[in-house]
Structures are given as structure tokens and as C-alpha cells.
Amino acid sequence: MSKLPTSATAIAAAFARGEVSAREISAATLARIAERNPALNAYTEVTAARVLAEADVLDAARRRGEPSLPLAAVPYAVKNLFDIAGVTTLAGAKLLAGNPPANADAALVARMQSAGGLLTGALNMDALAYGFTTENTHYGATHNPHDPMRTAGGSSGGSGAAVAAGLVPIALGSDTNGSIRVPASLCGIFGLKPTYGRLPRTGSFPFVHSLDHLGPLAACVEDLALAYDVLQGPDVADPACAQRDIETTTEALQCGLEGLRVARLAGYFDDHAGPLARAASRHAAQALGSRGDIELPEVDAARAAAFVITAAEGGALHLAALRERPEDFEPLSRERLTAGALLPAAWVSRAQQLRAWFREQALIAFCDVDLLIAPATPVSATLLGQETMDINGRILPTRPSMGLLTQPISFIGLPVVVAPMWIDGSTLPIGVQLIAAPWREDICLRAAWALQMAGVTAR
């Protein structure tokens, strides 16, 4: 084949038809990474031997006439908080660099491998997943493929950049307060943060147990759905993982928005969005036939509660190391983690109470609508090193404020797909959140597919 397919769906189909070998795909992918990664700093480790070995296994299976797998020969990479057998799990932190290599793959990596995926390596992130810009003091910043002076977002910034630059069609990331959705928005790709408890976190480095989610990022909706479908399934090893059966979404994509009631989130989500973000949310609402705007109550308090729980649980998780090895922490988040470790229990408990109440308010809203639209980030990609940003005349610190619009949603575990939007006159993409009721990832994906079909998600 002269020109190799690039999307996951096309690669798996071409492999199944015998038009391309996994060896060819993996060799081309490694060449692409070698050429483009130095400027992006998306990878912290390229697992070249593994990708070639996995490819040879697939090619051999095909020669034996075995049936093709859903992700056959599809290259992917994972944020470096996922365990990869034989590789030290860094979670972006120098603190963990001295740990022994993981002895087994994370549950989701194992599922990708069983589905035929080819693991190309581990991706850069904010240290310990605490940040929204992947400005990692120890491992360097990841650069935005649309403008190397700008951030790729974070904390799954390496995942966003690797997919946006076309190094791999699919990457896995984690999202505690927006860490899949922010890089998807700033890099102009699709990202899925599933319902809290949908995908098992077994074998991934935790940050905030009660808020941590894992999920895929992809360049198109079909690939996102394909990855999500193979990642699903119960796992008793993660106590927060709901023991639900696989509910596949790929076939339902073409249903489009038939029968779905769509509304746009206003109020807080407009107040904390810059002009471009508001335009993206309105544009998406129009394309999806929104019936109007609705508001959720006390969103600012919900975001604040997510902030409190994150700092408290994150600080508690790293308490021993904060005592013993403070010098090995990321200076950009160390003091916030330290402060988090000191929080009175009553504040954290109250934040969890608010979480239960806020979740009820959202569920009430979902009695009347099936899909909610909100901007994903207040602004498009900011400059590396930029300390503050202006949102409607208010000067806010860049790093914590990039999650203003994602935090209230992940706080109550709702499933979200971020779809990229290109607003006329802007040279940078910005994402919208497509939010559904718990366990309705299918609705988020159908809406994203409808936007993709409407042609508003491409430049």
C-alpha cells in the first residue's frame, strides 16, 4: 500500500482485509514519532520493542487465519500514569522516577492489547496529574501542535498533543477535574470522560480517588467510540468501578440526534467563558438544535467543592512524601498539595455533601433534557509560562482556572465528550462539552458524531 490509513477505524478495516500489515503500521508510526516528537515532547518513553512485538503477534495470527480484532494494528499511547509492564510509572513526577518498573499492564492497557492495539509508549503529563497545562518542570512542557509556543493543556497534555499531531489515532488519559477535556479542547481533538465508575482504574497511579476517571482521546468520533467500546467492562479490582456490562456505542453513532432533547448550559458556564468559548457553545447548540438555555444552581460552589476535595485527597495521598522528599515535588503544585493535606475534615465532608446535592440538581435537569452543551475551557490554548488570563475582565491565574468549566461536571461524574470547534477568525481550536445523564455515554458520542457530520469540528 502506498499510503497507509491513519484513523483507527480505517487501520483496523484495512488490516482485516489484508491490505496492510501490523508491521508496516508500527514501523510507520515509530518513524512519525521519531520525526515529530522532539518538537512536541509528547512522549516520555517510546516502547519501540513492544509495538513491533505486538505487531508481529497480530501478523502471525492473521496468517493463521484467526478472526481480526476490533482495534487490530491500531497504534496508541497512554499517559504515563498507566502501568506498562517493564516501564516505571512516572505519573509525571520525579518523585516516582526511582520506582521499579511496573510488573503488569494497567487494566485498560491490557484491554487495548486484547483488542489488537499496538502500544507505542508513555505520554507526558502535569506532575501527579495536578495541573491543566503540562508544564512539567522536570520532564519539560508538551507543546501544542497548532502553535508550539502554547500549552497542549493538561494534565493529559501528551495524550492531546500525540493525537492532534497525528502520531497515533488514539491515546488514553485520565480526568480528575478536566484532564482529558482540557487538552482535547486546546489541541482540537475529541475526548471522552465516561461516567464515574465506568472504566476501571486498576493499575493506574491515583490522584483523587473519589474523582479520578480514565478515558480515551481520539482524532474522530468513530475512533473514540471504538476505543471506548473495547475499554468497557467490570473489574472487581477497582472498588469504584460499577459492575456494569459492556454497552457498546459504535453502532448507535449513526442514530444521530433523533429523539434527543438538547439544551445549552448558561449562567456560570457563560460567565466563566471568554468570547471564543461562548461562541463555540452557541455554535454547537445551534448545530445540534438546542431548545434553549438552562442553568444549574450553585455551580461556583460545586467547582469550589471539587477544588477542596482534590487538594485534600491529593495532599493526603502524598503526605508521607511531602514530609520526606518535598524537594522532589513539582514546584508548581507542591504548596497547594501541602495546603490540601492540612484541610479540616468538616470542609471536605461538607464538599462531599454538596456533591450529593448538586448531583441531584443535575439529575432533575436531565428529566427534561438528554444532552447539555457547555464550553470545555474558558479560552483557547494559552502561552507556555503564561501566569494569568483575562476572562471577561477578570484576571485569573492560568493554571488552576483552565478547569473552571470542566470541574463542576466531573465533580458529579457525568459522562462528557469534548468535541473540537473552529470558530471563524480563530487560528486555534476550542472544545465544547457534550454532557449526558450518568451511563449515557452513547448520547454524548451521538451528539459528537452529529457535530462532526455537520462539519463544525474540522478546520
Binding site: E298, D300, A301, A304, A305, F307, V308, A311, L319, L322, R323, P326, R334, E335, R336, T338, A339, G340, A341, L342, L343, W347, S349, R350, A351, Q352, Q353, L354, A356, W357
Partner: protein, 378 residues
């Protein structure tokens, strides 16, 4: 960090005659402080507060009246100022003087000035070795080698300042004392010299004491600041914290008076003359009469310098630690987290941000049945 220099109850009084009667001018009045190895400390205060006297006591060019000075653990307070010229300590503590023109010998070239320090204070001998030491120091301070053979009148103010700094660092002292290092320079040159000092601070393994009435110098360069008023230290703490939240009314006034500063007019000192440093009333706060908060207690009860929060002290009856400070200090100790004093301010700031978030959460009236609160029924 280990203590490099320590002052204990340090006192300097000058005998004066007022209307024919013998009195004592309390120039330095019972100071206690330390400078750690590798630390950069700023000493600020208005003219006449005793800064310059203190510098002369520390560099042992003025005999002390009472108290102790320790350098690397050894008492140096009893070294007579007259004996200092030949004392090994002279190499360890070097000065950079305020006016580069006054402090350079007009008959010496830059090279001779720097080389003189090498010859007097080190064992380096031989023209080649001395030249190499001189050129290394010149390179450190950004003085081009072709200027080394010029006389002071052939050098600009900034270049003369560089010669003065090179002369001090060429002997590799442990403590560099800089007395108003930029005061005599043009504003444009000041910025360049500040950048140079900031670089030296990072590159050279020594402690710095910056004496200045210019708060911006101290803010830019120092880890820690000591504020002096009428012979006493009225406030000390990490520079960033002191500038962000000054505690003592005098420090608040200094910061409020900065052009374009964030200070509040209410913090400015009220009119009235400063008290005299001659035989001052031992029971009265030195700021009484000028202080916007002065009360009866301040006239009858002297406020000693006391620790307000970890690493921060102030001498004022009205300064109390905030609830957040008390909590953060106690919680850090309880959690056995030892935070570098320079980072403690950021922890406190982050804690305040989280506290304001928690306040936002608590302001939401939740229904009684919200989990996980217990239910009390009558």
C-alpha cells in the same frame, strides 16, 4: 541551613553632651538576629535608624558597647576595631560601599584596586596568579578586561560599581555586606547592577546582607528582611511575606509610601517628630507619637520583638497572628511537615484560597437530609 553570623543583645551607645550634660545616644539597642550560610538578608529603615552603625559593628570597624557577635560559631565581638586590619576575619566579611567614586583610590587603576585586595588578604602571590584572580573577578561582575587598566575618572558610575564589587568578591568572602549598593547610581544603571547582584547571589556560594532604604532593592534580591526603627528591629520575616502582608505599623507605612505600591493611606505614619535616640524611655514603644495605632499601653509598656507566626516576628502590641496563620503553623507541625520558611508563605496563600473555596461551599444552604450529616429529630 547553618548560622553564619549571629548577633546577641547587640548594643552600641555613643556618649553625647546635651546642654553640657553627659547622655547616651542609643544607636543600636539590643539586637538579636542571625544570617544563615547562603542566605540573602535585607536590612531596611530610614536614615538614622542605626543601619550604618550596625554594619560597622558587624564588620568590626566599630567597637561594640555590649552584647555578642558570633561568626561561624566563634565570638568576634571583642576584636578591637583597630586590630581588624590584620585580622584573618577581614577576608571573610567584605563590604561593598555606597559611593563607588568615594571608595576607590583615584591613583589606582581598576586592576590595582582589585589586586590590592588579593595581596593584602590572600596568600596569592606572583603577578600571573594575581592577574588571573583579578580577571576572574572582573569576568564575574561583567567588567570587560580592557577596562581593567583605567583609572576611576575614566570609568562610568556603573563600571566603578562593578570594580567595587569585584574588589570585595575577589577574596571569596563568606559574607558580603552591601551598604546602599545602588543609591549613588543613575536609575538606568541601578537596574543593571541589581541584575548583576541577583546573578552573583545565585552563582556565588556566600551570604549577603543588603542594607538599603530602597525597599525595591530588598524586595527583588532578598530571602529575608529585617526592618529597623530607632536602633531596634521592629519586624523580620521572609521578604515575600513581609511585602505581601506587613505586620508592624512602621513596615506598613514604609510599604504604603512606595510609589505605585499596594499600601493603604491609613497605614501612613501620622505627623509628629520621631522620638530622640538619646536616652529613650525604656518603657515606651519607639514608634509612639508617629504610629496611627498608638494607644496608652504603647506609652507605658514597651513591645518586644516576638514571633507572630513561623519565621515572622514583629514588635507591636497590636499585631496578632491571623487564625489562618495559627492554624497553618499548628497543622504543619501536627502533620510533621517541615516547610522551608520561604515556601511557607505560598502554603499559607494556597490554604487561604482553599479556605475561601470552603466558605463558598458552606454558603450553600443544603437541605437537612443531605448525606452524610446525621439527622436529629425531636
Amino acid at each position: 541551613m547553618s548560622q553564619l553570623l549571629e548577633a546577641i543583645d547587640l548594643v552600641k551607645r555613643f556618649p553625647v553632651r546635651v546642654k553640657g550634660r553627659k547622655k547616651l545616644l542609643h544607636a543600636v539597642d539590643g539586637l538579636n538576629f542571625h544570617i544563615d550560610a547562603g542566605e540573602t538578608v535585607g536590612l531596611v529603615g530610614e536614615s538614622g535608624c542605626g543601619k550604618s552603625t550596625l554594619v560597622r559593628l558587624l564588620t568590626r570597624t566599630l567597637d561594640i558597647t555590649d552584647g555578642h557577635v558570633r561568626f561561624r560559631g566563634q565570638g568576634i565581638g571583642l576584636i578591637a576595631a583597630r586590630a581588624m586590619a590584620d585580622h584573618p576575619l577581614r577576608r571573610e566579611i567584605q563590604m561593598v560601599f555606597q559611593d563607588p567614586t568615594d571608595s576607590l583610590n583615584p591613583r589606582y587603576t581598576a586592576r590595582q584596586t582589585i589586586a590590592e585586595a588579593v595581596c593584602l588578604l590572600t596568600d596569592t602571590r606572583g603577578t600571573a596568579a594575581i592577574d588571573s584572580a583579578v580577571e576572574e573577578a572582573a569576568a564575574h561582575v561583567g567588567l570587560p578586561p580592557e577596562l581593567l587598566d583605567r583609572y576611576p575618572h575614566q570609568l562610568s558610575g556603573g563600571q566603578k560599581a562593578r570594580v567595587g564589587i569585584a574588589r570585595a568578591i575577589v577574596v571569596k568572602p563568606r559574607l558580603l555586606v552591601l551598604d546602599e549598593p545602588t543609591a549613588a547610581l543613575d536609575v538606568s544603571v541601578q537596574a543593571v547592577i541589581l541584575q548583576l547582584l541577583d546573578r552573583l547571589k545565585r552563582e556565588m556560594n556566600m551570604s549577603f546582607l543588603f542594607v538599603s532604604h530602597d525597599l525595591n532593592v530588598v524586595r527583588l534580591l532578598c530571602d529575608r528582611v529585617m526592618v529597623m526603627y530607632l536602633g531596634q528591629i521592629v519586624e523580620t520575616g521572609p521578604a515575600r511575606e513581609v511585602f505581601a502582608r506587613p505586620l508592624h505599623p512602621y513596615t506598613r507605612a514604609l510599604i504604603a509610601s512606595l510609589p505605585g505600591g499596594h499600601g493603604n493611606d491609613a497605614d501612613l505614619l501620622v505627623g509628629g517628630d520621631p522620638q530622640s535616640p538619646i536616652d529613650p524611655d525604656a518603657h515606651r514603644c519607639r514608634l509612639f507619637g508617629r504610629c496611627p495605632r498608638g494607644a496608652e499601653r504603647c506609652e507605658t509598656q514597651f513591645p518586644p520583638l516576638r514571633e507572630i507566626s513561623r519565621g515572622r516576628s514583629a514588635a507591636c502590641h497590636f499585631v496578632a497572628p491571623t487564625e489562618g496563620d495559627v492554624y497553618v503553623d499548628a497543622a504543619l507541625a501536627l502533620h510533621q511537615i517541615d516547610v522551608d520558611p520561604a515556601r511557607r508563605a505560598t502554603v499559607a496563600t494556597e490554604f487561604e484560597r482553599l479556605a475561601s473555596m470552603a466558605t463558598l461551599v458552606q454558603a450553600v444552604p443544603l437541605p437537612d437530609d443531605s448525606l452524610p450529616a446525621p439527622q436529629y429529630r425531636p
